[in-house]
Symmetry: C2
Amino acid sequence: MAQRVKLSTIAEALGLSTATVSLALRDSPLVADVTRDRIKDAARELGYIYNRRAASLRTSRSGIVGVCVHDVMNPFYGEILKSIESELDRHRQTFILCNHHDDLSKQRSFIDTLLQLGADGLILSPALGTPAADIRLAEENDLPVILIARTIEGAGVRGFRGDDAYGMGLAVDHLVELGHRSIAMIGGTRATSTGREREAGYLDGLKRAGIEFRPHWRIEGPRERLSGFESAGAFLAIDTPPTAIVCFSDLVALGLMYGLSRGGVRPGVDVAIVGYDDIEEAAIATPPLTTVSNGQSEVGERAASALLERLQGTEAAEHTTLIEPSLKVRLSCGAKSSG
Amino acid sequence: MAQRVKLSTIAEALGLSTATVSLALRDSPLVADVTRDRIKDAARELGYIYNRRAASLRTSRSGIVGVCVHDVMNPFYGEILKSIESELDRHRQTFILCNHHDDLSKQRSFIDTLLQLGADGLILSPALGTPAADIRLAEENDLPVILIARTIEGAGVRGFRGDDAYGMGLAVDHLVELGHRSIAMIGGTRATSTGREREAGYLDGLKRAGIEFRPHWRIEGPRERLSGFESAGAFLAIDTPPTAIVCFSDLVALGLMYGLSRGGVRPGVDVAIVGYDDIEEAAIATPPLTTVSNGQSEVGERAASALLERLQGTEAAEHTTLIEPSLKVRLSCGAKSSG
DNA sequence: CTGAAAGCGCTTACAG
DNA sequence: CTGAAAGCGCTTACAG
């Protein structure tokens, strides 16, 4: 290719200074309308490409926001990412995505990259075991952080997530109303705030109903479709299997339903199942999945807005906002209670 | 925060020049070992953060590779993205993801951003209707492009994708062997090379078997789970419904199976179904889905390698490499042929 | 309304 | 083995 076109190329072609060209391209009112139009036309004709590195070196604003989650492929993040994307788009921020797969070192190297690129901010669903110090390091280096989905003790930053304990309570209450007295919980781990909260909501729900928790009702671990599928075996191996199951997530529930079907047990008929998240697939599954809607799009939108406000100069705050979840009743919990 | 630490901060602290510090941090053999160690220690202690914008302004290498696909949430891209990610990781390239949602202007603005950031390359699954000129614009501005999954006439760049026509042929052949003589195809559009190729494979398959194609066997459009679900209605409305269905993708097939179940038709019993892509869920679905494995991880890996080679200085080539697909027989095609 | 000049934080020949 | 200086392509006071 020919010599790259830069501000000075345009300036020379028109007999102007680079200062004027720079101002004109950014629609500064300091430049006369006629001049501005001439400059913009020339820029277009010459195929000028704005060099953001050079600009951001000067202004220390990059227009980049990092978004880092466990796994972008997980539909749980679908709504969240979608609303973050549209919010950032509107403010002409480029958003760069990253999976950390719950690997702390991947997360760290992504944060490092953002710092090196002079990114303007980070929206993070922190990896398992993220120490508060990691968040502070970013903040101390002028990278504002907003947490989503999971929160971290002592991180001192703003966070947005669903009220997981309350939401899981809704699920349990509903099953109790249907007459169930033996309710399992499958999936999730205490290593995340989400896992702890949802488990707490489950245990509280049982307590409210005066049901005594049995340790073998709790199958920990599964957080995705495949492990949900595999957990069907463990569930069916329980001596007297519970009549109902609350799952850590819809993905776990959907995998579990596949697993139970294969084991000859009919979800929604032989056993009641409730998921969590209300992903798109829940409504069309066989049977349609009763679940807890988590307000994900609100989480995404508010996280993005909070970040944009901080970029505008608002002070950092450090509380976590809980979005109120709601129950979506469908057919998967239609099992007759049998005990 | 305090004044930002830069090369010169370290240089001053140690009584050295920035040149030496710069070389030392990049492990140049020009710097004495002792000096290098002192420098690295100081950098760590001072909390030095490398400024990539400044460096890349000078070197015109950014270490950034863009990856842009229709929708990162689509599990079809799962394997592809995973192998691209690990390949780029190993070469210390930061990869930034973007969805274009088949919106040309979104794709263009992403390419623009990459150009502005001085990105080193782009791996692209082009949006519907992407003109060859868009690809050439990138190439002319020193942004090498590699295409995946979909190809574009006359783009003049390297591409990698599964052999879609051949793969769909495998699916049809298998159904014919099972005795089916009326086979529908659901999903996909002629606006993408993938859609055209898979449809061509379907039609050729019918021809090979001496089956005359009926227009009402072809339900165009669906490319995702939800629209696959909805297409069940259209299928069941056919006067004498075909005994077998090949789907544009696993997602379409899985949605369709949900839809058929709800309509009281048992997939794999009342009607044979074959998907395409062999995503993880296919193996655990109810019933397990017969499908065509597309070699996605090979696509991702080879696309990333091809790009890395070009960054190394290899000349651009322009042929498309077809990865050979293979059939995975499971239970969803176990329907008895009835005509 | 427009221009000349400094500077953002690196890297890279070139000297020594 | 180390240093002084130029330059990557912008933006931003400051002058005029």
